[in-house]
Symmetry: C2
Subunit: 503 residues, 2 copies
């Protein structure tokens, strides 16, 4: 082994210990949401804090810094050696990024932020319950001060929001997002109002009773399409569906079951199954390095939306799946044609609630939040302006006025958890998914016939080959160029919606 | 706060961090047995090793040693101050004990032991599958060398086995166990052969089909009797039932369900429920100190056997529970009287398998293992003698000859896991349970009427007041004297069996 490889291995070993500890933290979180008894919460908070502290210590230790500096100049990012593979060079770029991010926030800031976020979720919950934004405003003021300080500490070239965006979507800036969102806005607003004029699709058969056990049995079939296996995964029930992964070979998916709304469960399963597949396909021989981690929140979201919407709400998928669904629920779906089913699951929903939005209006909900968050960071909007600003954006984007703050500016948990700059990744996820899918459809022009025949492996293989196997080797824009030959654009998404709803 | 209390608090803080980490390790273990997908095993081994290493590091650190030495002389055990409560003095005694145990084994020994045990379970499994003791013998030889070395490293006054016993049952020695077991042996052998002469009880109705879902519903009722609540506990299914506790407020119970043998499930639930209650009743304000830990394996086992046998196989309990069981399984138990049910669940079982043994012969299985383990340690028995020695003890104690080694000396996993000196705690558990119960019955002469009426809180309260709330404040023999006024004795157990089977 060369001296350089020995150095690289030492760095990987140190990093792998932190990643292994972090995976223990993810198990703590998974258990908290699935099986932990309620009174276990206080000790769970201590366990979580302890593990998170140990992870942070390892990722910022002098030993880790030393191992990193053996290979890369922390200041400039220049590598000290050429004796590294392309993937290893990318890993070092990402390790350096993570190290700088982890060490730029002083303990004082981290402590203040932890204190305010740990109290804010409860405050937000109470405020939402009473639909009273004023109750939450003081917490948001303090959070905003800390977000602004964070932006200064992390640094940015043009807009303070850039520093925060970058944490969730490396490389994203206000300057890159604004044109994407400006490109989306007019066509989406126009399509949304066009759809609102159409006669509503018949959906009542989806509100019959679909018993839980049978839903779960069919849900497992769906999960199999996304590559889930019991050998490498577990499925559980939670209030809010999610997916977490301890390792490519140990992924945990959760869903929720409402007996009067089976599609909520089925689409959640497809969504989380998409997240699961990404994590399961990461190259495990690099476990502990950025090469075995997902590129970004938005690329992750592109994988979940791929399976939830581009596949799970598509015509060919239900050509395959509806006959099976009818076998499980014969009385509920008697005489329901594929046409009727497809129309029902794609029926537009006029709602002020983001998580209930249809795929046409979803990005409009995000654009609203993006504008408000930018405004808050740059100071053009004050915290006290939020309720009014929210409603006026809602009116112009979605033609709606929320009944109250709970249905409006208090609907999301994100700010109270400390997330500022996260929302745009949801919209990017939709754009990326459509753009990736366009390339996939070009490579597999007969994809719809194959999906209609119940074939999914070729699709999973394509995702693996094109996206998953690289881990963080390429940042999202670079990955997009590599896979599609183009920079990220709103056009494939708009073309997809146009074909689906006007075609 | 006094200077002494500040020192005590510092020690407790250090210890609590180790205990919190250890509780994370227990969650890893629980998840491994309940929800982890099979391919998660390799990363789980790494997670477990990492956490165990961090726990060990904290429990043997210079900082911990220093904090301990501020209050107690490690050499002599003498306290440096009188300004401590009785409970705190006991905690220091136990902290010192744990520290000495943890630091007396050199890294070289720990490493060699970990290496051999990690391979031995697989070797044992294969040997048992082929019923071929010779396959396992070389591993057992190496284990025996390490156990002997461990005994020398830990030190002992009279018998090398004492050093190993002490780890599971502090204070137990060959000299204290032998008279107990000698007192048990003749009466048990005689009662066992007397029972073998009686006509067998009718048990066929217990082999009808008892559907899983209904078993679980009734199992939850049983668990409620032992004090389990969903607020502080979770119930899951595993191959081998167990109970683990992350904290008094977060206990995890598991059971297994065989549809043709419901009593296996119900008695496992009562057994694990007994372990659960003990942990749930430990004083949580002392979490992190020995005062919030169980006295010993044997006292723990006394709590599980209490609920499994003294309650769960008693007449008054089924006066209460049988009508409820019949509601759940009306067709299976139609026309089954309490007399018939009681006779069936207490029917003697002539079996060479310890875990299938009835409560009369169970201790005889343990005495066999105790004699062999003593002999191995002192060198009066060689590894190669085991199969023959096993069978000859089995013949004289139980009147049986196992069909093969798998049913004989290869039946237990314990040695391959590295446990030598563990088996006696099972027998002690039975003795302690009966002796505690005698005191309980004296305090509550009408206990059987109250249990028959479905009252259990007074029983749980008694256990809490007399045993659970003290944690490790008293060692088992001292606790026994405190609760019953007597040293541990085989007599209450023998009297209980005599009354039950001859009364």
């Amino acid at each position: 082994m060369s001296a350089t490889q020995a150095k690289y291995d030492r760095l990987l070993r140190l990093s792998r210990e932190a990643t292994t500890l972090d995976s223990v933290g993810r198990l703590l979180h998974w258990d908290q949401e699935t099986h932990m008894p309620p009174e276990g919460a206080p000790i769970r908070a201590q366990q979580t804090e302890l593990i998170a502290g140990l992870v942070h210590k390892r990722r910022t230790s002098a030993a880790f810094r030393g191992a990193l500096e053996e290979l890369v100049d922390l200041e400039s990012g220049k590598l000290h050696t050429a004796d590294l593979s392309r993937a290893q060079r990318a890993a070092l770029r990402e390790w350096r990024r993570d190290f700088l991010l982890a060490t730029r926030l002083p303990a004082r800031w981290v402590k203040a932020f932890a204190a305010i976020t740990s109290e804010s979720v409860e405050v937000w919950r109470a405020a939402r319950e009473h639909s009273d934004f004023a109750k939450f405003a003081p917490n948001l003021e303090r959070l905003l001060d800390l977000w602004r300080e964070k932006a200064e500490l992390l640094g940015y070239a043009r807009h303070p929001y850039d520093a925060l965006l970058d944490e969730y979507e490396p490389g994203a800036t206000v300057a890159t997002l604004r044109p994407l969102f400006q490109g989306l806005r007019p066509p989406l607003v126009s399509l949304r109002s066009e759809l609102a004029e159409r006669p509503p699709a018949k959906r009542d058969f989806l509100n019959k009773r679909y018993p839980k056990e049978k839903q779960m049995a069919f849900g497992r079939e769906l999960l199999t399409c996304t590559g889930f296996t019991d050998e490498r995964g577990a499925l559980d029930l939670t209030t809010h569906p999610f997916c977490t992964s301890l390792h490519p070979r140990d992924g945990r998916v959760t869903t929720r079951v409402s007996e009067r709304d089976p599609m909520e469960n089925f689409l959640a399963i497809m969504h989380e199954g998409g997240h699961y597949l990404y994590e399961a396909n990461l190259p495990e021989n690099h476990f502990g390095s950025p090469l075995c981690e997902a590129v970004s929140m938005a690329v992750h979201e592109s994988q979940s939306r791929w399976w939830e919407t581009l596949v799970g709400q598509s015509w060919p998928f239900w050509q395959y799946a509806l006959p099976r669904l009818k076998q499980v629920f014969p009385s509920q779906l008697k005489e329901i044609s594929l046409e009727a089913f497809y129309a029902a699951i794609n029926a537009p929903r006029q709602t002020p609630i983001r998580i209930q939005a249809d795929e046409v209006s979803y990005c409009l909900h995000i654009i609203l939040r993006f504008e408000l968050e930018c405004g808050l960071l740059e100071g053009s909007i004050q915290v006290s302006d939020i309720p009014e600003a929210w409603n006026s954006h809602m009116k112009s984007l979605l033609g709606l006025t929320p009944a109250n703050a709970a249905q409006g500016c208090l609907q999301d948990v994100h700010w109270s958890c400390g997330h500022m700059g996260y929302f745009p990744t949801y919209a990017l996820g939709n754009l990326y998914a459509a753009q990736f899918f366009e390339a996939f459809a070009k490579a597999h022009p007969n994809w719809s016939e194959r999906v209609a025949a119940g074939e999914f492996e070729f699709m999973r293989d394509w995702l693996h080959q094109q996206i998953h196997r690289y881990g963080r080797q390429y940042r999202s824009a670079e990955l997009m160029r590599k896979v599609t030959g183009k920079v990220p654009s709103p056009n494939p998404y708009l073309a997809y919606l146009d074909a689906k709803y006007r075609g």
